[in-house]
Amino acid sequence: MNEAATPAIEVSRLVKHYASVTAVNGISFTVARGEILGFLGPNGAGKSTTMRILTGYLAATSGSVRVCGIPVSTRADEVKRFVGYMPENNPLPEDMRVNEYLYFRGRLKEMPRKRLSPRIDEVLELCDLKRVRHRIIGKLSKGYRQRVGIAEAILAEPPVIIMDEPTIGLDPHQILIVRDLIGRLRGRMSVIISSHILPEIEVTCDRVLIINAGRVVAEGTPSELRREVLGQSSYHLEAQGDVDSLVHAAQEVEASLAVEQIGDPDATGFRSVRLKTRRDDDIGELLLRTFAADSRFRIRALSREHPTLEDVFLAATRRSWDVVDTPGKGAPANGE
């Protein structure tokens, strides 16, 4: 089999029903080798269910999932050798020591004994766990436990790593360590992480998949998503003088510019103005030059505002609720 040609993960029209609930409803996506994919969605969107199906732990109701070209539904045993998985809430045995646990897991993952101890040293080093290697897992703090889970997932160097909310409950410093760790896997392993912490995803991931109510509502790189979902960018400036004429001057540069918000003047007479436009490319310099040439007003600051992934996430999930809730309008095309 051609290793490089097959994508690490291929999911097509995946559906999972629990007794009465449809958790996943026709999700399709692919993850290239070496890519880091961020999985976003509100609670109950179907993130964990999708991840569990990818690992072969749960069976899908319909649809197909292939990991490294191997179908999960029929050859789950082989797929399990390619996947390192860290479940939600990171369950760990309470009464084992860190290195004992890693040794046991390494044996279960069919790592040869000889390679196992150097590899354990390596992951302990990577995850900054050297100091606690002889401690009992049940007595470790949340941050350490979380890193034990990550160390366990990358232990056998699988081509695919799936982590369900790896940064939950960590302090900012530890989040930084975990982010570095995941970043270091880029190119070598394909990683899927789900998270609620959106800046996290934005920094770490090559691509983001937003799902809601079991459907994919947006997909792409963070910047693509901004454009696609919000479709606008905004400029923030602080100006003194005739604001109306300022807006006119701005609209001569770019017709789609519109006032979003004008603040009250502060002690020095400057007020903050927010303009938005449908235009993608940066027109900041052009605006600045136009404003500087005009004597009717003075400019103290001008900046282009980057919508955060948070805005994108809120917009995308809201949009999908609208679609789902509008009767008769139907869901966005989901195959069939």
Binding site: R52, A59, P93, E110
Partner: protein, 253 residues
Amino acid sequence: MRHFFTILGHEIRALLVNPSTYIAAVLFLGVMGFVFSEVLDVYSKIPQETSPAVIFFRFFPIPALFIVPLLTMRCLAEERRLGTIETLLTTPVTTTEVVLGKYGAAYLLYVGLWACTSGFFYILYRFAGDARLIDPGPMLGGYCFIAVSSLLFVAIGVFASSLSRNQAVAGITSFTLLFGLIVGLHYAIQLPAVQTALPHPVLSVLGSAEVLSHFNDFSRGIVDTHEVLFYLSSTALTLIFSILSVEAKLLHS
């Protein structure tokens, strides 16, 4: 089956570092030691026809009913409660290997505890200096019976543990099942109402599942292949049900 020994070793280790194992062991050896000394006390007063080993092993339902649930209630219920079953089953391990590994560890530990009681006989032999008290036939028969019947008892405990994520529920379920098998069945068959209501073939099937009558055969030194086969086949069946129960919980989660 390559992971069976990894899991077996892990489980034995987990049992050995767990305080509840030691509580169970102390309880077991304390109670059995008490029983043994009481048996000797009776022998010292009135001469008996049977060997003390027979009387001693007749008390096997006590540990079977109390120690087996204590040792097994944890094994699958705890994994499910903590969620570690998810990490366990996402490695290249089959459910069969997991269940068999846990079963094997619990069985070895339980039989190991019984093996400790051979010390009682050694002490008796050493200090009584009377070879008549040590009759190797019933003694070996008794240990054989323990080894064979424990296969089924421990399997029932593992099965009960696979049904619930709550250890207490698992423990009580396994106690109930074992009680039904060892004591309940014995008395149910003797009830006149049951004897008249059930057809003869059913009664004979139930009769052959009677643990106490198996014990009587074994303690006389008779090892009946029927009985051994009964324990082996019912153990296999119970373990298959345990494996199915673990898998069913995943399918219908």
